[in-house]
Symmetry: C2
Subunit: 589 residues, 2 copies
C-alpha cells in the first residue's frame, strides 16, 4: 500500500502521527519560507507543509511539483495555526519528511476545479480529467449509492436480480434497434435490447415471481437533447400482483432511496393522479406539482363573445400567474413570441391583467367586458395582482401548450427548486393512441399492457371512440415534471393478447414472426403479472438536483452518438468486414 | 395480491388459518375419494386437498386441472395425517374451499422435474419451462445471492460500482470484437467491450481508487465447449496498491462468498504458487490441488539407459497413481490410447508398476533394471501398490500432457469432489509469451501488465532469453483446476508502456491508433494501480458444484452462438440495412 491514510480522513486528534498520503497535487505554493501543497484524492484534500530553511532539498522537490503530479508524501500530522473550516481536514496539516513523485503530469487542458474553465467539448475529450472534478465525482458516488440501495431494498423484498441477454433478436416494433452482425451466422444479425421486456415476462412464465435488474438498454434514435443511445434501467416485474401491489412496492423503494440517500421524507402515501386529470390540470402526463398555476377550462366563458379566435376553437384554457399583473407590454410581447416558437406552437397569446385596483386589462377588451373578464378570473381563482394567460385550440393540444407555458412561468418565478421533491403516480393511461397519419392505433405503453378489466367491453368493440376510452392498468412515476419510470399490468391471457395485436393492426402472421416465442410461452401457464422500469440515469440526475443526465454517466456520448474521448464509432478493418460478409455502401467510413 | 402466502411457507403452526395460494399445478391426483393437488411456486410445493363427497363441484374443477395450470386456491391449513418429511411444508395441507383457474396450460414438452425427460435442444427451445425446474431455479438464486454478496463486500470496502459504456471503439488487439454499425455515422462501427479494461484504467487516472463492476463482456470467438459469446465479469481495479494489497482484498472477497453463500471456510491465508511451480508440479497454470499425484521430474533417472525415446527428449516426467499397480494390460492400453488423443498429444505412455511385493514391472524393463526403476519410484515417492505413469517431450509440453493425465486419473479415482473447494493464487507469471509462428512476443495477460520491478533490466534487454524470463506482477485465482479470475499490477509510467509496445512489436503509430487515448491519459498523472477480473458465470457454476456455466445463465446461447428460443441471430429488414448503409455479401441471411 502506498499510503497509511486517505487525503480526507486526518483530524486534529491525529496530531503527532506519522502518516503517508498519496494523491494528486491540487496546487503547490511558496509562502513565508514554506512550501504548501494541497494533496487531493477521492476522499478529500490535505495540506502538506515543507520548511525551506530546515529542509532545503525537500523544499526544492516540493516547489517543482506541477498541478496533477501524482506523489506519495510522508510526514507528521500537526494541528494548524490558521484553521480552514471549509474542509474536513482543515484543522491539520502534514509536516513532510519525504516526497516521492510517483508520476509527473502534463498541465491539464482545463482546471480541475468545481467550476472548470474548460468548454464542454474539451472536457468530453479529456473525460478522465473532467471526472476528477468534485461535481462529477459526487455524481458517480451518488449513482453507486443509489444502485446499491435499490439492490438492498429489492433483495430485502425477495426480488432476484437475473441477468438477461444483450445479443437478442431484432423486433421492428418500437424504436430502432442497434444490430450486431453475426460472423458465425453470416447475413444474420443480433439486436441489442431496447429493454428486457420480453425476457422479464418470460421469467414470470418461468415462475420467478419477483425479478429485477439494473441493466443497460439501447435505442438507435435520433438523439434529442439529453438522450443517450445507451442508458440504464431499473427493470422490475412481479407475478400474482395487481396494480396496487406494484405501486405500493415501488413507492416504498423510492421512499427508501429518498430517505437513505437524501434524508428526504416524501408524502406517505404519494399522491396519485389520473392521466385525464394530469392533462386537464397540468397539460402534461408528467405534471410538476411543486407549484400550482394549474390550467383552467374557460371554454364556456370564452365562447360566444364574437371573438372568432376563441369561438372557432374546441377549447380555451388559462393559467393564472400570481402577482404578474405588473408585466410590461414588452414582457408580454416577449411571452407571446415565446409561445409562438415551434417548440410550443401557439398561434398567439391572450392576457388578462387583474389589476390591484380590481379592474381588468386584457388584449381582448374589444370583445370582453369587465364582467366577462371577472367571470374568467373567477374560474381561474385569480386575485388582484395576478396575470391570466389564455391559449386556445384543439383540447389536448391547447392543454399541452398551456402546460409548457406553465412550466416556463414556474421557472421564471423560481418555483422549481430542484431540491424540493414532489413525486406522484400518474395512473389510468389510455390503452391506445390513435395516429392520424398512419390511421391506426398504437399502444401507449407497449403491446403487452393490459386493458382495465372494467373496460373489456370497449376493448372488444369495433368503434374507434370505444377503443379510445379504454384505460390501461398502466402507471408512471413522475418527479418534478419528469417521468422517472413507468409500467403496467401485463396481458397474461392469450386471447386478450390476440385481440390487442388485432387492434394494433398486427396480423397474426406478423405477431408470430415478431413475438412468436412469447405468445407461445404464454400457452404454458402464464401467471398474472406486471412491473415497471425506472430510467436510472435520470433518477440519479434528479436526486443530484440536475436536469441533465450526462454528468451522471461516467463516459457518455455526445449529441451525435459519438464518444469523443475514444473517437468511436470508427471505421473497422477490411478483414473484419469480410469476416462479417458485409460491405459498406458509403465511402466516408 | 393474488395470495396470502407462498407455497413454501406454511407450517404446522399455521393450522387453522384461512389462506390463499397461487402457483402452478405440479400434479393433481385422485385418491380415496379425494383430489390432491401439489401446487408449486418459486418458494416450494404445498399440498392442496379437495373432498369428493362434500365438495363435488370443487372436486370436479380440481380433477380437470392439467400439469402447469396456473391457479389460485383458497382453503384452511390443516395438519396432515401422513406427513411428508421431504419438503418443508410436508406437515400440512390446505383443505380447499375454492379454486380459480388463472390460466390454462398446454402440456409442456418435457417434465418439470429435477431430472427432466427433455433433451438439451428441446429444453433450450423452451428455456422458460426449463427454468421452472429446481436445479435451474437454485442456480438463479445462487447467482443472485453471489452478486449481491460481492456488492456488499466491495461496497463495504469503499469500492464504487461505476458503469462503463457498451458502445465503444474496436481494437484489433486481443480477441475478435462484436461490432455495431452506426446509423448516424454511416460506414463506422462501435464495438462491444471484451472487458472494461481501458475504462477501469481511465477511472484510476480519474482518481476513483477503488472501482468495481459486475458487467457483461463480449467476445466473438469460435465457441469452444462451455464458452459464451456474452459473459459476465466481476471487474475490479485499485490505485496506490501493490500486488499484496490486491491479493489480500480479493482473497477476502472470496472468503466472504464461501462463508456466507456456502458456509465453507477456505484456508487463511490461501495457498500461493508461482507459475513455474504450477507448471513443474501440476503441468498447468490452473492446478487442481484437491489431490496430490504431482508431477516428478525424472529426466536424470530416465536418461542414459539406451532408451532412445527418453534420451532424445528434453524432459521425462512421471506421476504416481496411488494403489493402481493392479491395472490390467487392457486398462493400460486404454490409457495409452487416451494420452495419444489429439487433445492430449502424447506419442505413447510408459508405465511402471510398483508391485505389492516390492518388485517393479514396467513397459521399459528391457532398458531399466529393478534398481533403476526403484530410483525412479524413489523420486516419485511411490509406495508398493502404486502405478507410475511416464511421459516425455519438450519440458513444458510434456508437463502439460502429464497435467492433463493427472486430472484424468483424479477423475477416475474420484478425487475431484466438486464440493471440496481448494482455491489458490498462482503468481509470478511470465510477462511475455513467444510465438514461433508469428515470431514475436505476445503479452501473457495483456499489454498493460507491469513487469516485476526486479526484472526491469531483462525487460530492457534485446535478448530473447532475457525477455522470456521477465516475470509479471500478475496473478490468477484458481479453484479446483479452473481459473476463476486473474489480473495484474498495471504499467503506470509512459516510458515502461512505450517499451512494452516495442517488445510486442506494436509500432508507436499503431499504438497511437489503438490505444492513443489511454497513452495520452497516462500523461496527466496516472497513479500506480492494479486489479483483476473474475469470470462470474464460472464462479457461480463452481459454487453450485457444476462444471458447465450454461445452467447458471438464464438465457444462454448454444455452441453456434444461437439463442434457439428467440431464433437469434436472424435476418433483418432491408430498410434497416439501408439505414446502416450496409450490404450483405451472402444470400443465406
Amino acid at each position: 500500500m502506498y499510503r497509511t491514510h486517505t487525503c480526507g480522513e486526518l483530524r486534529a486528534s491525529d496530531a503527532g502521527k506519522t502518516v503517508t498520503l498519496a494523491g494528486w497535487v491540487q496546487k503547490a505554493r511558496k509562502m513565508g519560507g514554506m512550501v504548501f501543497i494541497d494533496l487531493r484524492d477521492r476522499y478529500g484534500i490535505t495540506q502538506l507543509r515543507v520548511e525551506d530553511s530546515t529542509q532545503p532539498e525537500l523544499a526544492a522537490t516540493a516547489s517543482k511539483l506541477g498541478r496533477e503530479f501524482v506523489i506519495q508524501a510522508t510526514g507528521t500530522v500537526e494541528e494548524r495555526q490558521s484553521k480552514n473550516s471549509k474542509i474536513p481536514t482543515g484543522d491539520i496539516e502534514v509536516s513532510l519528511t519525504g516526497i516521492t513523485v510517483l508520476n509527473e503530469a502534463q498541465t491539464p487542458p482545463f482546471t480541475i476545479e468545481d467550476e472548470s474553465d474548460g468548454g464542454e467539448e474539451l472536457r468530453a475529450r479529456y473525460r478522465y480529467l473532467d471526472l476528477r472534478r468534485n461535481p462529477l465525482k459526487n455524481a458517480m458516488i451518488l449513482r453507486h449509492r443509489m444502485a446499491h440501495e435499490v439492490r438492498n431494498y429489492l433483495d430485502d423484498k425477495g426480488f432476484l436480480e437475473i441477468e438477461t441477454p444483450f445479443l437478442i433478436k431484432s423486433t421492428p416494433e418500437g424504436a430502432r434497434d442497434f444490430v450486431v452482425p453475426s460472423r458465425m451466422n453470416q447475413g444474420q444479425f443480433y439486436a441489442l435490447p431496447q429493454s428486457p421486456q420480453t425476457f422479464k415476462q418470460l421469467l414470470m412464465v418461468a415462475g420467478y415471481d419477483r425479478y429485477f435488474q439494473i441493466v443497460r438498454c439501447f435505442r438507435d434514435e435520433d438523439l434529442r437533447a439529453d438522450r443517450q443511445p445507451e442508458f440504464t434501467q431499473i427493470d422490475c416485474e412481479m407475478s400474482f400482483v395487481e396494480q396496487e401491489d406494484v405501486l405500493n412496492l415501488f413507492e416504498g423503494m423510492m421512499r427508501h432511496l429518498f430517505k437513505v440517500v437524501l434524508n428526504v421524507d416524501i408524502p406517505n402515501p404519494m399522491p396519485r393522479m389520473t392521466w385525464y386529470d394530469a392533462m386537464d390540470r397540468y397539460g402534461s402526463d408528467k405534471p410538476d406539482i411543486r407549484f400550482g398555476m394549474t390550467i383552467n377550462d374557460i371554454t364556456r366563458e370564452a365562447h360566444g363573445h364574437d371573438f372568432t379566435v376563441f369561438d372557432s376553437c374546441e377549447y380555451v384554457g388559462a393559467i393564472c400567474v400570481p402577482g404578474a399583473a405588473e408585466y410590461t407590454r414588452k414582457q408580454l410581447d416577449e411571452l407571446t413570441e415565446w409561445v409562438k416558437r415551434p417548440q410550443v406552437g401557439a398561434k398567439g397569446l391572450v392576457y388578462i391583467k387583474y389589476n390591484e385596483d380590481g379592474t381588468f386589462k386584457s388584449s381582448v377588451d374589444k370583445f370582453f367586458s369587465q364582467e366577462d373578464l371577472a367571470d374568467i378570473a373567477c374560474v381561474c381563482q385569480a386575485d388582484p395582482g395576478d396575470l391570466i394567460l389564455v391559449l386556445c385550440g384543439p383540447k389536448r393540444k391547447a392543454q399541452t401548450m398551456l402546460g409548457t407555458l406553465r412550466i416556463e412561468m414556474g421557472n421564471r418565478l423560481g418555483l422549481r427548486d430542484p431540491f424540493n421533491f414532489a413525486p406522484l403516480w400518474v395512473v389510468d393511461f389510455p390503452l391506445l393512441e390513435w395516429d392520424d397519419e398512419t390511421s391506426r392505433f398504437y399502444a401507449m405503453h407497449h403491446p403487452f399492457t393490459a386493458p382495465k378489466p372494467e373496460h373489456m367491453e370497449w376493448f372488444y368493440s369495433d368503434k374507434k371512440e370505444d377503443l379510445e376510452r379504454v384505460c390501461a392498468n398502466a402507471y408512471d412515476f413522475v418527479l418534478n415534471g419528469t417521468e422517472l419510470g413507468g409500467g403496467s399490468i401485463r396481458i397474461h391471457e392469450a386471447e386478450v393478447q390476440k385481440r390487442m395485436f388485432e387492434v394494433l393492426g398486427i396480423s397474426s402472421e406478423d405477431a408470430e414472426v415478431k413475438f412468436g416465442f412469447i405468445i407461445n410461452a404464454f400457452k404454458f401457464g402464464a401467471p398474472p403479472h406486471g412491473g415497471l422500469a425506472f430510467g436510472f440515469d435520470r433518477v440519479c440526475a434528479l436526486f443530484g438536483g440536475q436536469e441533465t443526465i450526462r454528468d451522471f454517466i461516467a463516459f457518455p456520448k455526445n449529441n451525435m452518438g459519438r464518444d469523443v474521448m475514444l473517437d468511436a464509432p470508427s471505421a473497422i478493418d477490411d478483414t473484419q468486414m469480410e469476416e462479417l460478409a458485409l460491405r459498406s455502401t458509403v465511402q466516408n467510413g
